[in-house]
Structure formats: structure tokens, C-alpha cells
Subunit: 334 residues, 2 copies
């Protein structure tokens, strides 16, 4: 009898060790993050708000996490990917439509005369290019054009499709938050219609959880069925103070976790973290890795200037991520 008991005890102990090791391994929700303050801050926060009965617990209905896209979930260099789309699409249109090719701003773009596009206080040339490539068509036509582009266009430095350049550590954060009852939203200055084409496939974020810049669409019942035509009217830019306003318009709830990377995210970081009755988390991705990605803050190559938000981070308690130091890998495996 004793021998039997000893035998089963040994087996039980062995199974327990195996199981514990397995659990410990499975329990690292952020394997692409180096151990350190940043990783600890994120895990401690999620553990706190998701632990029922503990101080800091937040009901699941209020677990709203918002993520900037360009520079936070994927790169924004050498230009925001949507701008690359506008450039490629302009070229495509100019190649087939002589009226487009004759357009002075299209000529400037094709000649690489960025100064002409950016002239004037409202960057009229740039807006003209955006209008050319983002209005006048139905939302279905726009969607299929973006899909075609995304399936073929390659990033000039990395040589892969743009949607293959999402940050693996942030994909893990998205999955980790969702596994803990959070609804994850994109809140970006990019166009909502542009992002919704691939948000579900690329980030697991459904179109209804994408908050971005918008303009009015007009409804028409045509012979072939109902359509929505994209216009440039009522343009609402979802950036800076527009981000809290966009969050309110689309989500109607105050987020408790906010991830951004630039001064364009400062107001939504404030909105989520200052005087919030719930425990909150503010995170800034600092682009510190010239080798694996890009290095910039005060003087970005394109968008993504980070100055005020970085200065305020210590006082506000925002966690600053150094891509170089905190991330084991940068891009998601293809």
C-alpha cells in the first residue's frame, strides 16, 4: 500500500511540475516584450482591472482600450501608408485619365514637388490629391481599390506588403486586452473608410470599432441597388482635440487605456487618464530604433511629432515604451 502511494505521489508531483511549467509558459501574454518596467506596467494594469473583488476592478462594460494606428500599431514612415495609397492611386488614375494627368497638382505630385502640394496654410494641393483619390466613388468601389492596392503595394524600405508591417508586441497587447474583457478600438487620424477595409483581418478589430477621420457620404438608390458616395464635405479630422471628440461620437464612453505615439495623441491620453474615476493606463510608443524601424520624436520624417506628450509623460504617469529596449521583435512574423 505504501509503495503504491509513493508511486502515485511521484506521478502526481511529476504531472504538477509539467503542468506548472506549461502554465507559466502560457502565462506570458507578451512574449515579444523584454522584461522591464513597461511590460510590468501593462501586465499589472490589466491584472488589476480584470480581478473581480479586488480594488481597481473595472466592470467589463467599461473596459474600453483605444489605440492610435500610424506609429502605434504600424509604422508611419517614409509617409503614412494611406498617403502612399493616395500617391499610388493618383499615378494609376493619371495613367488612364488624361484629365487627371493634366491636373497641375497631379503633375506636381508626379514630379515629386512636395513643396507645391504643401503650399498654403491649408495644404490645398494635398487636400486636392486626397479628394481626387478619396471622393466621388462609392464606398464599395473605394474598398475594392484599397484592397487591390494592399494586396500588391510594397513598402519601399522593407519590401513587404504594408499590412505585413504591424508591430508584433502591439498585436500581443491587442490580444491580451481582448482576452481580459476589453473592447479594443482604433482611434486614428487616418480615414475610417481606409482602415475599415483591413482592420478585422489585420488587427481583429471590426469596422464598427474603428474611429478615424470621416467626411459625409450620400445615399442613392440606383438601378443596381443602394450605394453610398464618398464626398469631402463635413470633413472631421480625428486628431489632437478631435480624438476625444471622435471617441465620444463613436464609442460614447471614456476609455480607460490609451496607446499613442505622438502629440496627436496627447488629448486622448489626457481624456483617458486625467481625473478618470477608474484606474487608467496611458502608453506612449517612443520610436527609438533606427536599426529595426525608425528613430524620431521632435523632427519626424513625416507625421508623428512627439514633444509635448513626452514632456508631460512623467507628470501624467504615462508609460513610455522604448521600441529599441522594450521590444524583443518589432514586426509580426509573415
Amino acid at each position: 500500500m505504501t509503495r503504491f502511494r509513493a508511486f502515485w505521489s511521484a506521478i502526481a508531483a511529476y504531472l504538477f511540475i509539467l503542468l506548472s511549467a506549461g502554465l507559466a509558459q502560457a502565462a506570458d501574454p507578451l512574449p515579444s516584450w523584454n522584461d522591464g518596467e513597461a511590460k510590468t506596467a501593462i501586465i499589472d494594469y490589466v491584472t488589476k482591472v480584470a480581478s473581480e473583488g479586488q480594488p481597481g476592478f473595472v466592470p467589463v462594460e467599461e473596459r474600453v482600450a483605444v489605440f492610435d494606428n500610424d506609429g502605434t500599431l504600424w509604422p508611419e514612415n517614409p509617409m503614412p501608408f494611406q498617403m502612399a495609397y493616395a500617391v499610388d492611386e493618383t499615378k494609376r488614375l493619371a495613367a488612364t485619365d488624361p484629365r487627371v494627368a493634366a491636373d497641375p497638382m497631379v503633375k506636381a505630385l508626379l514630379a515629386g514637388d512636395i513643396a507645391a502640394l504643401m503650399a498654403g496654410p491649408h495644404h490645398d494641393g494635398l487636400l486636392h490629391i486626397i479628394a481626387l483619390t478619396h471622393s466621388g466613388m462609392t464606398v464599395d468601389q473605394f474598398r475594392s481599390q484599397v484592397e487591390d492596392w494592399m494586396a500588391t503595394a510594397k513598402h519601399p524600405r522593407f519590401g513587404v506588403r504594408y499590412d505585413q508591417l504591424t508591430y508584433q508586441p502591439m498585436q500581443e497587447v491587442l490580444a491580451y486586452f481582448r482576452a481580459n474583457g476589453f473592447r479594443t478600438y482604433i482611434v486614428s487620424g487616418g480615414g475610417a473608410d481606409f482602415m475599415r477595409v483591413w482592420s478585422q483581418r489585420v488587427y481583429g478589430i471590426p469596422p464598427g470599432q474603428v474611429v478615424g477621420s470621416t467626411a459625409r457620404v450620400t445615399y442613392e438608390l440606383r438601378e443596381a441597388g443602394p450605394v453610398l458616395v464618398k464626398t469631402m464635405d463635413n470633413l472631421v479630422v480625428d486628431d489632437k482635440a478631435g480624438k476625444p471628440a471622435g471617441i465620444h461620437a463613436s464609442i460614447g464612453q471614456r476609455p480607460i487605456a490609451v496607446f499613442g505615439n505622438s502629440d496627436g495623441d496627447k488629448e486622448m491620453l489626457e481624456y483617458g487618464t486625467i481625473a478618470n474615476p477608474r484606474p487608467s493606463l496611458g502608453v506612449i510608443i517612443h520610436h527609438t530604433d533606427a536599426e529595426r524601424e525608425y528613430q524620431y520624436d521632435l523632427n519626424p520624417q513625416s507625421s508623428g511629432k512627439l514633444d509635448e506628450a513626452l514632456k508631460q509623460a512623467p507628470e501624467r504617469g504615462w508609460t513610455v515604451i522604448s521600441m529599441k529596449d522594450d521590444w524583443k521583435t518589432v514586426f509580426s512574423p509573415q
Copy 2:
């Protein structure tokens, strides 16, 4: 051996009968609906789109159902409940603020001079009352005012709180659709901020799934923390052709099931059901029950005119619900 087998067969048969009876009972997802074409159409549709491997199956990501609110999920008589809020709130403000009391349009309202409020092509008096009661405050102040009102105000005919007047058959439809993988959205001409105060509690619909009329909010970082101030700028009315546009702006997906009750819902019924590559369902609630609720279509007492949509229903394949004939009970139990 044979005796044993017979015994167990009898037990199995008995258990089978018990179980089948239990399942059949549990299987009526719409107990407040009378049996009939309308109920059958709804159940057949949901069964079809949710049956994996069958023709008509729709992936869960595309199961989007939209519901008008006033007249579809709760009454809109003697006036839309939000209008009752505006009236009561105006009285409250007039009682404490002499400047409000001296306002000519407030005087007209307090005197019951509806004609004065509705004068002019844009109903300037009415818009003035809406502005008085729906702008200038923070979204948090507005929310707590609506909460206070909803907790105390009583419907003039039924004598209960307004949020106690939701239609039980529609509550069952909401639950039934959600149980079958649908995301349920409100798409209403009412104010998004007004509905989001109680949408989760009353319908189980989170604020982010409420699409309604909106105006710009402005972000401010005040001493006490960040606030959003309600304005009347950029007013976007989520009605008629504004509904498909609002659905696109907030959901970014075409719905496959649409419930409405008036011509204000015609365009979203078209948008969901005409030339939709997925099987779709369009439903019109026809107010035919003067005794238990109200009876109107061409000449409603307030909002809710139903003419064109009703005429088009047979050709479009929209299911028309007669409240009087199809609903066993009207209001949810208190």
C-alpha cells in the same frame, strides 16, 4: 438480459420525451409573439443565417441588425420621449433662471403654443428649445440630467417611467438576435447622447452600438479634468437618407436585418435589403393597436408617418408586423 434491455429502453424513452418537451418549450425564442407569418418569417430568417454549412449561412462578423428606436422599440406618442425631456427640462430651467423664463420661445412652450415653435421652414423655435436643453453643458452634466429625468418623469397616458415602456416582443427579438451571433444596433433620429444614457440598461445595447443624431462636442482640459462640451454645430440628423450614412459612419458595414416603423426608416430598409449579397430581413412595425398602444400611419400624432415604406413593403419583401394581431403583449413587465 432481455428484461434489462426493455427496462433501460423504457427509461431512455421516458427521458427522451421529458427532454424533448423541455427543449420545445425553451425553443420558442419569441413567446410574446402570436404564431403567424410575421413570427415565422423572423425565426426562419435567423435560423437560416445562423446555420453553418447551410445555404444562406452568414459569417458571424457580418451579422449586423439595426433597430430604429422611437416607434420600433418603444412608443413615440404623444411625442418622442426625448421631446418630453426637452419640455420638462425647459420648465425646470425656466423655474430657476429668469433669463430662460423671459425667452419668447420658452414662453410659447410654457403656454403650449406649439404653432409658434414650429413656425418657419426650419422650425427655429423648436431648434432653439433643443439648443437650450441639449448644448452648452458637458456631456457628463447632460448625462446626469437625463438620468434624473428618466428616474422620475412619468408617461402621461401610461403613468409609468418612460423606460418602462419598451415593447416586450422587441426585447425578445433583440435577445434572440444576439443569442444567434448578431450585433444589435440602435439607429435612430434621436440624439445619440440622449439614448446612450440608458441603452445598455434598457436594451442591453452598449453606447458604442447606438447610432443617432449628433452635433460637435469640444474638448477642454479644465482644472478638474478633461471635459467635452456639447454644441449645436455640425448637426447631423440620423433620419431618412441620413440613416444609411449614419450606419456607414458608425458601423462601417451593411446591416442584414433592419427593423423600423416609419418612412424615416425607408432608406435604411432599402440599404439593408435591396441587392444585398447576403440574405436579408426588413421589418416594419405597424401601429395598429389603439387600445393597448396607439393606432397611426399616414397621420401620426407626432413623429412616425408611415406611407411610402408601407406601400413598398410587398414589392421589397419587407415583413409588416401588426402590433394588434402579432403581439400577445405589448409592454415589458415592470
